[in-house]
Amino acid sequence: MSGLVLAQFLGLSAALLGIGLFGILTRRNFILLLIAIEVAINAAVLNFVYFAGFASGPGGVSGQAAAVVVVGLAATEVAVGLAIVLALNRQRGSINVAEASTLRQ
C-alpha cells in the first residue's frame, strides 16, 4: 500500500465544482441545470470522503456519514426538480428556465 496524495483529490474537486458552476450559469434547459447542480454537489461529497479517508483519528468516519446524508439530500433534490420540470412542461410546454419566471397560475 503506497498511499495517495490529498492535494490531487482537492484539485479534482475544484475542477468538478468549476464545471458544475459553469453549467449552472450557462445552461438554459432545466434538466441540464439539474445535472450541473449534481456535478457540483458530487464535488462537495468527494471532499467529505477524502477528508474522512485521510483523517487519522477515530472520528473520521463522521465524514462518510455526512457524505451519506448529502447523497440522500441530492437525490431528494433531483426528485423535486423533476416534479417542477413536469409542472413547467404541462403549464408552458417548454422546460426552458428563461421562460419560467413564475410557476403561479
Binding site: A7, L21, L25, T26, R27, N29, V69, A79
Partner: protein
C-alpha cells in the same frame, strides 16, 4: 508513480472529461449517458479511497436511480427523444467565474503537503453505528426532508392543477 496514483489519475480524467462532455453535447439523451459514466467513475474513486459503502451507494443512487429519473424526465417532456437542444452561447462571465474558482481552489490545494499517505478504511459497521448514534439527528432530519419533498413533489404534479 504507484498503481493507486495511476488509477486515481485515470478515474479523475474520466470524471472531468465526462462531466464536460455531459454539459457540452447538444442531445439531452447523450448528456444523460455521459453523466452516468461520470457517476460510475466517482464510485471508482470512492472504492480507491476504501469507502466501499459509499461506492455502492453512489452506484445505486446516482448511476441507478438518478440516471433513470432524469431519463424519465426527458422522455415525458419531449415529443422526439433524440432532438437537439438549441445551441447555448458560452458567456464570458460564467466561464471567467468558473476558471477563477478553479484557480483559487487549486491554489489552496497546491499549498498542502504532497507526500503520499495511506487512506483509512472504515467498516460499514462503524459507519452505520456513527449514522444511527452520534449523527442520528442528521439522519432523522434527512428523513423528514425526504418526506416533505415527497409531499411537495406530489403537490406539484397532481391532477387538476392547470
Amino acid at each position: 508513480m504507484s498503481l493507486e496514483e495511476l488509477a486515481f489519475l485515470v478515474l479523475a480524467a474520466i470524471a472531468v472529461g465526462t462531466a464536460l462532455a455531459a454539459l457540452l453535447v447538444r442531445e439531452l439523451v447523450h448528456t444523460i449517458l455521459w453523466i452516468s459514466v461520470f457517476f460510475v467513475a466517482l464510485s471508482g474513486i470512492y472504492f480507491l479511497l476504501q469507502a466501499d459503502f459509499l461506492g455502492i451507494l453512489q452506484l445505486g443512487v446516482y448511476a441507478g436511480a438518478v440516471t433513470i429519473l432524469l431519463l424519465f424526465g426527458v422522455m415525458v417532456t419531449r415529443k422526439r427523444i433524440f432532438s437537439r437542444e438549441a445551441a447555448t452561447g458560452i458567456g464570458p462571465f460564467p466561464l471567467a467565474l468558473a476558471l477563477v474558482s478553479i484557480v483559487i481552489l487549486s491554489g489552496v490545494a497546491a499549498g498542502l503537503p504532497t507526500q503520499p499517505r495511506t487512506v483509512h478504511a472504515y467498516s460499514p459497521a462503524a459507519l452505520s453505528e456513527q449514522l444511527f448514534t452520534t449523527d442520528g439527528g442528521w439522519l432523522v432530519l434527512l428523513g423528514l426532508t425526504m418526506l416533505s419533498a415527497l409531499a411537495g413533489a406530489i403537490y406539484l404534479v397532481r391532477e387538476g392543477r392547470e
